[in-house]
Symmetry: C2
Subunit: 356 residues, 2 copies
């Protein structure tokens, strides 16, 4: 490790407290420390951009989940893209572009014994930009791909509904479903997102769940009416990123043998009372339908195949992507994360940490 | 049709009104009319016994379901066993024992054009008694068999939990799961049922959901504690007949790739407010687990194979069955049905209509 690196300062965002409801400033602790030396056989990565995902909210809670919670005082977990700036590991060279889980910090030092199990992987920036490697070619893209293809098993002609349609996972799911010959209806918040989903992504329709209810109508009647209008043959696959009332409303419209992919429940992540369970879950019985969860890490050995397929779609123009890249470095992390929960972001939310 | 039959009176129970909550006497209308002539090519069945099932409550409600609701003024739908007392249909002879959906009445007249699609089928009373043909060899048995085997796909060594364990479906599910090499834990109401489930059916354990909570404990802590104690390796398959808080409590204990079979939700069928959705449904996500509905009619073409397998288990003693046979004829139907919802019945609830 060149001695000049030792003078670099690593700014970090650590979890200070377990949030109740929406995370607030006091739940975070910003720290600065000299860059750690990765040691013999280790790798030092300069972080370029971080992925901000709804799942982060779950990682901040105590309790059993698909991965351990972030500990109090630990650097907040985050996926990201970086450049190798020092390496004595045979698999990585200075200048390599890499993806991994660096956490919310500017530098990621990996000792030799952690490289293999860290998930650090070289990426090819000719296949997609840094933000795209956090979106369609990254975790959200992989989640959408394997959730739709493996759990959903779409057949041409089927109707696929996806919530959070303008989000990172939703945009991927809908576009793949179109490529596979399905009718695709999105659900998103606001006319700008809905327009983009239809005009740029090519969905057949998009329902604005924030549209004001007509006089006398109830809060979710617009979604119900939208499904009735845009899914004349019912719903064969529902890819759920939001949970809550929207999940319930779609459950009332599913077809025989429908598949519901439970990918997330952003409407519930900051709930301070109990999660709202799907009141219409008995629609699963009536329709012999299936509701199944997906966690992307299960498919890690098949990422390369999915990345190759998606990169092909990006190249031939059958797939487009949109990222909402926020400047401001790691200090901007706390405020930026909360944009996810208000639905303020438009496209995959990315925090730029350094120039690329 | 012998002329003497024309003098027979057919007592019937018809749906008078759509119940709100638990069905009450005024929701039913008892009628008596001369036995209808089945006509050329038709069949006349004398009903011996009727099956009383939780699903009946759903058939009384308006709205889209897996079969149309019973119409106001119509004879209540019910499965049953009978004897052919007149026939000019080539497939049925006087004296044949048959199963079908006669409805809550004493005689079932099937005109020629209805025989094929009525589901009328000859049964062999050497394989099981009349009540057993409504239980393990009938709809509940088929539901348990295909729900467990096709949706649940049990593997030897896995832990299977079944609610309504002493009920018609539950007793079948648990015994098949034991035969297939699983650890089986039942959930039932009261020490008598739980004892029977363990001692007679051979379940590994049975949790009494009606057990009084210890001081300071909450209503469902006993179920939670029972699962902790009796499912040390977690829950791989949950066969749910009850819904509500028990479903939620089991969801908190499921393993990776668990399968939850949604067969019924008897705790919710008489709810006058909205059905309680499973608040812990995100456990499906965390555990990449699946919740799937079953409707037995989908497996009609495979009933003979399942009946042969189950009859074999009855014969070799690996399976026992228990029926709660109520005397009193069709007039006793309204009061008897409600025993299901209070959990008063012990074993498959059967209404005897005539001597057999």
């Amino acid at each position: 490790m060149p001695t000049t690196l030792a003078t670099l300062i690593n700014h970090q965002v650590r979890l200070a407290a377990r949030p109740v409801g929406l995370p607030k400033a006091s739940d975070w602790h910003l720290t600065a420390e000299p860059v750690a030396a990765p040691g013999d056989g280790g790798v030092l990565v300069k972080v370029l951009a971080l992925s901000l995902d709804p799942a982060m909210r779950g990682w901040m809670n105590e309790g059993r989940s698909y991965i351990p919670p972030v500990g109090i005082g630990e650097v907040m977990r985050a996926g990201g893209i970086g450049t190798v700036i020092a390496s004595s590991h045979p698999g990585f060279a200075v200048g390599d572009a890499v993806s991994g889980i660096p956490g919310v910090q500017e530098y990621w030092a990996l000792p030799a014994d952690q490289v293999a199990r860290s998930g650090l992987a070289k990426i090819d920036l000719r296949l997609g930009s840094v933000p795209q490697w956090l979106n369609v070619l990254g975790m959200p893209g992989m989640t959408g791909y394997f959730g739709l293809m493996d759990v959903g098993q779409p057949k041409a002609g089927e109707t696929v509904v996806v919530s959070g349609a303008a989000g990172a996972v939703g945009q991927t799911v809908g576009q793949i479903a179109k490529i596979k010959g399905c009718r695709v209806v999105g659900i998103a918040g606001g006319p700008a997102k809905c327009d983009w989903v239809v005009k740029e992504l090519g969905f057949d329709a998009c329902i604005d769940y924030k549209a004001p209810a007509p006089e006398g109508a109830k809060r979710w009647d617009a979604v119900r009416e939208g499904l009735r209008q845009h899914c004349p043959k019912g719903v064969d696959i529902y890819f759920d990123n939001v949970g809550g009332e929207i999940l319930d409303t779609v459950l009332a419209k599913i077809n025989l043998k429908a598949r519901i992919i439970i990918c997330g429940a952003i409407s519930q992540y900051n709930a301070t009372s109990a999660v709202a369970g799907p009141k219409n879950y008995l629609s699963l019985l009536v329709n012999r339908a299936r509701m199944e969860g997906i966690v992307v890490f299960d498919y890690a050995d098949r990422y390369p195949q999915a990345i190759a397929e998606m990169a092909g779609y990006l190249k031939d123009g059958r797939m487009v992507s949109r990222e909402d890249v926020i400047e401001g470095g790691v200090a901007a992390f706390p405020g930026t994360l909360n944009k996810l929960f208000s639905g303020e972001n438009f496209g995959k939310l990315v925090l730029k940490v350094a120039d690329y």
